[in-house]
Symmetry: C2
Subunit: 429 residues, 2 copies
């Protein structure tokens, strides 16, 4: 039975789940062209030697250093291909030669010979990179557990790796539930609501490194829910049921989950989205998130992200944080940890200002559009105008706009319809 007065903290809830669920993702091989963002399952080392034999360090000519032992030889009748060859940066050259003279120190005579600058001295190996000086077999290329970035792909390519062993991505099924829901793109009729969570969840899951499996909307009927679950479980590693978690409906969902597996946590001391349910069916987590978009986002952000990270063996996300001054009081329920969305702007003196966007009073588009968020701890309660907060940034710092400047950086000539009359960003009564 849902008891929000004695709900567990986020950490307790995750520990309860992780105590029961220690997935070991299978390893699969992917070609390096498809490896971006994947998590390597082992350290990788070079198989290549570069330069294979040697390479000139600069644009110049390759010569026999022995001929310079007694000082500058007479080069006025030297013949290209016999006494020297051209060797530009990165070029290998014939074994007869063993040193390079930079092109700046060479004058090609009209007759075919050379004049060298007086101070030229040539030691064996001068201006030559030896074999393996760029890379050699065994050199480190990348380490297990760190998602692959563009530069890491260059390392793999230089090192002669064509396929990378990576941790398989978890398939996460997302099942939107609600008799009132219509798919995004359908104009809602009386009594209907738009499923906006599926598309958001799909892209949050991709961001987390999961493979999203978006299932169709399920009506609030226990048999439909059961059959959606029957469809999802064989295909997915993790199942998210979205909606039907309000007091009446949720007991039905939780009862169903309890009948088919084990309910580990029911109700979380974290909002928006307290009426959540974490369960295991067989060896798979099945998690019920509330339907309202603010609650669904929050549940995906703290819970599903942690679950996907555990599967992939990744540490918990730490978003970049900035210190910002609260522009207005920000109410936070004291007994739970609470997600507050914020719009961060920059004052003329460089200070960052955080404008709270309370989800009950602000237009939903502004809440979703927020460029920052703050999660209050249990027991912390309200924050006051002027308080300094560590705000998680939801955009790059370059997108933080000056305080007071309109939010919309349209290019000249890009028409933006004027905002509606009387639309002050507040929810109407």
């Amino acid at each position: 039975m849902l008891d929000l007065d004695h709900a567990r903290s986020k950490t307790e809830a995750l520990l309860a789940l992780f105590d029961r669920w220690a997935p070991r993702p299978p390893v699969e091989m992917v070609p390096i062209a498809e490896a971006i963002g994947r998590v390597p399952a082992q350290d990788l080392h070079s198989r290549n030697t570069l330069p294979v034999v040697r390479a000139s360090m600069m644009d110049g000519i390759a010569v026999v250093s022995e001929r310079f032992r007694g000082g500058l030889p007479d080069t006025s009748r030297w013949v290209e291909g016999k006494d020297f060859v051209r060797a530009d940066t990165g070029d290998d050259f014939d074994d007869r030669f063993d040193a390079v003279i930079p092109i700046e120190e060479v004058t090609f005579l009209p007759s075919g010979g050379l004049r060298l600058d007086d101070e030229v001295a040539v030691a064996p190996g001068a201006c030559v990179r030896p074999s393996g000086s760029l890379i050699q077999p065994g050199d480190p290329l990348l380490v297990a557990g760190l998602p692959i970035r563009p530069c890491d792909l260059a390392a793999l390519a230089i090192g002669g790796i064509t396929e990378v062993p990576v941790r398989r991505r978890p398939v996460v099924a997302f099942i939107p539930t609600g008799s009132e829901l219509v798919p995004a793109g359908t104009t809602p009729q009386r009594g209907q609501n738009v499923d906006c969570n599926s598309l958001m969840a799909r892209h949050l899951l991709l961001e987390m490194g999961a493979v999203p499996l978006s299932l169709p909307i399920v009506k609030d009927r226990i048999e439909d829910l059961e059959s959606a679950l029957d469809q999802a479980l064989p295909q997915a590693d993790i199942v998210v049921l979205n909606g039907g978690s309000s007091k009446g409906g949720e007991d039905v969902t939780a009862t169903m989950l309890g009948r088919r597996g084990e309910v580990l946590v029911h109700g979380i001391a974290a909002g928006p989205g307290r009426p959540m349910c974490l369960s295991m069916i067989g060896d798979k987590p099945v998690i019920n998130l509330p339907g309202p978009v603010v609650a669904a986002f929050h549940g995906l952000d703290w819970c599903i992200r942690a679950v996907v990270s555990r599967y992939l063996g990744l540490p918990m996300l730490r978003r970049p944080q900035v210190r910002a001054v609260l522009a207005e009081d920000m109410p936070c329920p004291k007994r739970i940890c609470f997600l507050c969305r914020l719009q961060v702007t920059r004052a003329p003196d460089g200070t960052l200002i955080a404008h709270p966007l309370p989800f009950r009073s602000v237009r939903i588009g502004l809440w979703l559009n927020a460029n920052g968020q703050f999660v209050s701890e249990v027991g912390q309660g309200d924050h006051r105008k002027g308080d300094v907060l560590d705000v998680e940034l939801l955009c790059g710092e370059e997108f933080i706009r000056p305080e007071g400047e309109p939010a919309s950086p349209a290019l000249p000539g890009e028409a933006s319809p004027p905002p509606r009359e009387g639309n002050d960003g507040r929810r109407h009564p």
Copy 2:
């Protein structure tokens, strides 16, 4: 003629280009399912009203508030469907009813009637969200110029937007040049080198918001270079020629670019990668980056990224920065701005430590794998052990490992081949 002694700064070079090139990206419509990461060309506002008529605020029963005007009525013989209906959170209900009583205050009698708690009071509209209280036409959904994130997709879906006007992404052709190059995946023979830049560039360009056009390797012959350019220019908005920019080769490339268009900048006070060439051919930037991977990365990171951002009307990237203490001296040439790669670790007291990875002495895999970088300013010169730097992070903070701990977070059972004997991370002599 390349003159590195009087090279322009990065800012001067970009200004010279941007003075000649003010692209206006065409606007195209994309379905919201494909809009992630795209840059909206205008502010977007809601077309929907939600709730369409109204919605219950909680699980409960809908009643006629008028019947409660004189106090609690006798509900013991009330009939569902006539005197009340069930109305759970989000539900609409028949026009005859105008208020909701929470389910906690209702007891359903076995005979079919109801008992209500004594303190129940019912005003018109109690516990009912009115039409448009979630969203109404004209409500802000997102603003022009800010790349679309998962939450923004939810806003678009709620607001009834099916297609988004976005700025077209620039097509950026990347042409690897060098007679010594073989494609990644080919084992290099004597005198050959591996093209590792194409794959890295492809994924850096995707990250920047461009459409990469990866062209095949071109030999160092002027006619091959010309024909690659002829192939790239009609398809691309921006062309990157990679390699052939060393002193001998580059004059050829620069001469060719000057013949076909106008060379704006030749040589940059920024390294690695000083021998760069920025030109315009017709209305398209054609940029020659040096071939070595460290120089190619640097040129892509500061120059091509800025060019793509200008096309898309985006501000210049500002990566998250952390303050870190230098673990060793870090030489930086004084006359240029210099890219230093670093490995950042966390000391037991929480301090971040930055270990320099000089590209001339460290194994190339470690350089590419760096989790941080620092760009010294012109005139700044060397940095010393103990100096505190603002380091750009190239990974999430959660991936910074404790000082002294092995870099590889393999999961239990994931085999990692032991590093080669005697491999100390230093380039061999």
